[in-house]
């Protein structure tokens, strides 16, 4: 009965979405306030109904209702409760339901919290949001119903892929989707602005908190995924340039560009059509991600059950939404008047270069990701594009961006004084070079690119702090005055400092763990000692242990440094009999200086198994925890910026406000 209620709720939500697609839009065109305001009720109604559907599916998972096909295919009665709940979004159908839930969540969010947004714009935005939910709700009801029943019900379920039975999975998709789908509301704002034919500073300010919210969630989602791959999957790395990773990274890159170009639209009333285009493209890339993951278009380590019919339906939705919005853009964008003028050396120009680099970088990742498909279509040749391509193209592109990031915040709007900026940053520039040379000496050489990257990371970190210190006049005035200034500084300014410094911190992690990583793959028998990165690791043997729905071979490794015991590591190789698959549980000793990471693979051969010989993989990844620390700072920075007073207080006036800013203020 309950699954049918869930199914029915989805159908009702579709009905509401169709109403919301039409009525508010008509109201906005005819100037009828009541019609416009109907979007509030329908968007909250949609959220409530989809929540009911989601709760119904979750209940089926929790009580292991094996009359529901989706539960049979993705759950098992013996599975721990957390993973039964997480199983709700572990399948294609369930994750699509989560997708739609978040879509309606953002729609309802704008109706509830967007009281300062002009009625007509809000009505149009919510109508566009309803177009998207109409598309996806119908997709779900027509091709991917999560509530399909089966009779007779089987004794037990097929279990969830054991790789997915991890806390990382419980959290990674929801955050990723909050980000991905969060950009839908920004897309809806952009299309609504195109329908109105009007973009101004007020528009940019209304959109900003939503962009920030989506960007923060996407950052968290990507980082959790990376963390999951690193800790759970035993891959011994945090980024693999896999197509599915790339499709989540592209909206992040373009979303980052959007955050910055929207600042120019808000402060200087410029970059309007560019900001709109970025808003459309960011969500288009999110949709592309959904399409690629679910259509089996590319080969990837991540995949859902693939069905060409579904692929075709999503492609149809993509054509409608992306094609439609870009056609609207082609029609309306040339009519937008250009905003404030600026000199080649100015804050605007700096942000323009930022956008160009991020845009080109996104294009590069897109091209690399889809190149195998293009080549196969044109030349009938099969290749795969891997990390070497991306490392050779993407990384060099990011370095000038980081250089610029250090300078950018010092530039003033309209026209900046370069010699003046140089005077302010020359001390940190010299300090960065000295620090890099010291590191070079301590590391006894190493790859040049790594040292250059270290230089830029140090530079970014110091320059960011310098700019912040300058704003609060640290050490120029008594500390209490600086404290007072820091408290009066807009939160957005603190947010920028935090996020930029966070990127610098994360860069230390990226560089350390890629350039100075040490890896050993060896055959070991009990008693073997391996030396790695100053540690001595003793292999003491492997024993068989039992878990709730698996059994495992657990290795014991005693780690010592200079003869003193440091820790004991227990890497496992687990076998899940019901799902008939194995996973590697790596064991990690984590410190800020680096991670010692051990995993065991299966025994070399039958003979080797009898003698207790195993393949052992040990890695030392220096500074890897800086990645997680830096990412947390990025998210915190976004949060600080989002809590800025100007985004909460009062309705911005809908006319072009002459910019009065001269000092480099946010």
């Amino acid at each position: 009965m309950i699954p049918e209620i869930g199914h029915f709720a989805l159908a009702l939500a579709l009905a509401l979405a169709i109403i919301q697609s039409i009525i508010p839009l008509l109201g906005a065109n005819k100037g009828r306030l009541l019609w416009m305001q109907s979007a509030r009720a329908t968007s909250i109604g949609q959220l409530a109904l989809v929540t009911v559907a989601f709760a119904a599916l979750m209940r089926s998972f929790v009580i292991s209702d094996f009359t529901v096909v989706n539960v049979v295919e993705n759950s098992h009665s013996l599975k721990p409760m957390l993973y039964k709940i997480a199983g709700t979004w572990g399948s294609h159908e369930g994750s699509l339901l989560l997708w739609v839930l978040i879509l309606t969540l953002f729609g309802a969010g704008v109706s509830v919290f967007g009281s300062n947004i002009a009625e007509a714009l809000k009505a149009r935005t919510l109508a566009v949001q309803a177009w998207i939910s109409t598309g996806f709700l119908s997709f779900m009801l027509l091709t991917s119903n999560p509530f399909d029943r089966m009779f007779p019900p089987p004794e037990d379920g097929n279990d969830l892929n054991p790789l997915l039975q991890d806390v990382g999975l419980a959290l990674h998709p929801p955050f990723l989707y909050l980000g991905y789908v969060g950009f839908s509301i920004v897309f809806s704002f952009a299309v609504a602005a195109l329908l109105e034919g009007r973009v101004d500073a007020a528009w940019a300010r209304w959109v900003r908190p939503w962009t920030l919210a989506a960007w923060m969630c996407l950052t968290a989602g990507i980082v959790l995924g990376s963390w999951w791959a690193y800790y759970e999957l035993g891959w011994g790395g945090w980024w693999f340039w896999d197509p599915v990773e790339n499709v989540s990274f592209m909206p992040w890159l373009l979303g980052t560009a959007l955050l910055h170009s929207a600042i120019v639209t808000e402060k200087r009333d410029a970059f309007k059509s560019w900001t709109i285009l970025l808003a459309i493209l960011t969500f288009s890339l999110s949709l592309l991600g959904t399409f690629v993951v679910r259509s089996g278009l590319l080969t990837s380590v991540h995949a859902f059950a693939v069905d060409p019919e579904r692929g075709l339906y999503i492609l149809f939705l993509l054509a409608l939404s992306i094609g439609g919005s870009l056609a609207l853009y082609a029609w309306r964008a040339p009519m937008m008047e250009a905003g404030g003028v600026f000199k080649p050396i100015s804050r605007e120009a700096g942000l323009l270069v930022n956008n160009l680099i991020l845009g080109v970088a996104t294009g590069t990742v897109l091209f690399g990701t889809l190149y195998p498909l293009f080549l196969e279509a044109v030349a009938d040749d099969k290749i795969s594009v891997g990390a070497p391509f991306f490392n050779a193209t993407f990384v060099p592109m990011m370095l000038p961006l980081v250089l610029l990031m250090g300078v950018g915040p010092f530039l003033s709007w309209k026209r900046a004084d370069l010699p003046g900026v140089w005077q302010r940053v020359r001390f940190v520039a010299i300090l960065s070079i000295v620090a890099t040379l010291v590191n070079w000496y301590l590391q006894e050489g190493g790859p040049l690119l790594a040292h250059l990257s270290i230089l830029l990371a140090i530079w970014l970190f110091l320059a960011t702090l310098r700019e912040w210190a300058m704003r609060i006049r640290l050490f120029d005035v008594p500390l209490s005055d600086s404290w007072h200034r820091a408290r009066n500084l807009p939160r957005a300014a603190h947010g920028m400092t935090m996020a930029h410094a966070g990127l610098a911190v994360a860069m230390f992690g990226f560089i350390g763990s890629s350039a100075w990583k040490v890896e050993e793959v060896v055959f070991v028998a009990p008693g073997t000692t391996i030396e790695i990165a100053g540690f001595e690791v003793d292999f003491d043997g492997v024993e068989r242990v039992r878990g709730p729905n698996y059994f495992a071979d657990r290795g014991t490794l005693s780690v010592m440094k200079g003869g003193n015991p440091v820790t004991t590591l227990y890497p496992e190789r687990r076998y899940y009999p019901i799902a008939e698959s194995s996973t590697t549980e790596s064991a990690i000793r984590s410190t800020l200086a680096g991670d010692l990471y051990a995993s065991i693979a299966e025994p070399a051969s039958e003979d080797a198994e009898l003698s207790g010989a195993w393949t052992l993989r040990i890695l030392y990844e220096p500074l890897v925890n800086f990645i997680w620390l830096g990412s947390a700072m990025l998210i915190l920075g976004g949060g600080l910026s989002m809590s800025d007073r100007r985004l909460r207080i009062g309705a911005p006036k809908r006319k072009s406000v002459p910019a009065t800013t001269t000092a480099p203020a946010e």
Partner: protein, 187 residues
């Protein structure tokens, strides 16, 4: 000018859409690695023996005229899975009387010699492919790869990756039975 510029994103999106539509063809499997050699004659190649190893070299002519199908394994001392696979191949030779040939791929002769001395040498012939040229002829995508070749020099089967673990060994032995290299009772 502005109008053309504003139209560009749409045009690019349409081109992408065309490719996606093509890519959705249900008969297309992006995971499939094409193996052009199956049921084809083995490619021409002639390789010197590995210096310092007392095993003759390997050429196309050695693959024809054998009494039963032979197994040809591409290996290298720098390849860790090869080490794991070595025991499986050795047992094929010792227990099942398989004739095993090897191509030592992009390896230093002294490393290969040390590797074989340490683990044992089950290979009847080994060709040293230091340049990787023969590897290109065979179209290998990585090391190890293992082929089964019929007495007339036809490639009967190709296994990509190490033949290690129950699954892989089972598959490979099934292929050996199918090609007639071992009888079903030996399975």
């Amino acid at each position: 000018m502005g109008r053309i510029l504003a139209l560009t994103p749409l045009l690019i999106a349409v081109v992408f859409g065309g490719f996606f539509l093509w890519g959705l063809n249900p008969e297309r499997d992006p995971n499939e690695v094409p193996s052009v050699l199956i049921s084809q004659p083995a490619p021409e190649f002639a390789l010197e023996p590995v210096a310092g190893v007392d095993t003759p070299g390997l050429a196309r002519s050695d693959l024809t005229g054998n009494a039963t199908p032979v197994v040809m394994n591409v290996f290298a001392s720098w390849c860790v899975p090869c080490r794991a696979e070595h025991a499986v191949l050795t047992s094929l030779v010792q227990r099942d009387d398989i004739t095993l040939f090897g191509i030592n791929y992009k390896d230093k002769p002294e490393d290969a010699a040390r590797w074989l001395a340490e683990l044992g040498n089950p290979y009847a012939r080994i060709g040293s492919d230091q340049s990787g040229r023969a590897g290109i002829e065979w179209g290998i995508s990585g090391v190890p790869e293992t082929f089964i070749i019929g007495p007339d020099g036809t490639v009967l089967y190709r296994y990509v990756g190490p033949v290690v673990g129950e699954d892989a060994v089972g598959k490979f032995r099934e292929a050996l039975v199918q090609s007639g290299a071992i009888s079903r009772e030996d399975l």
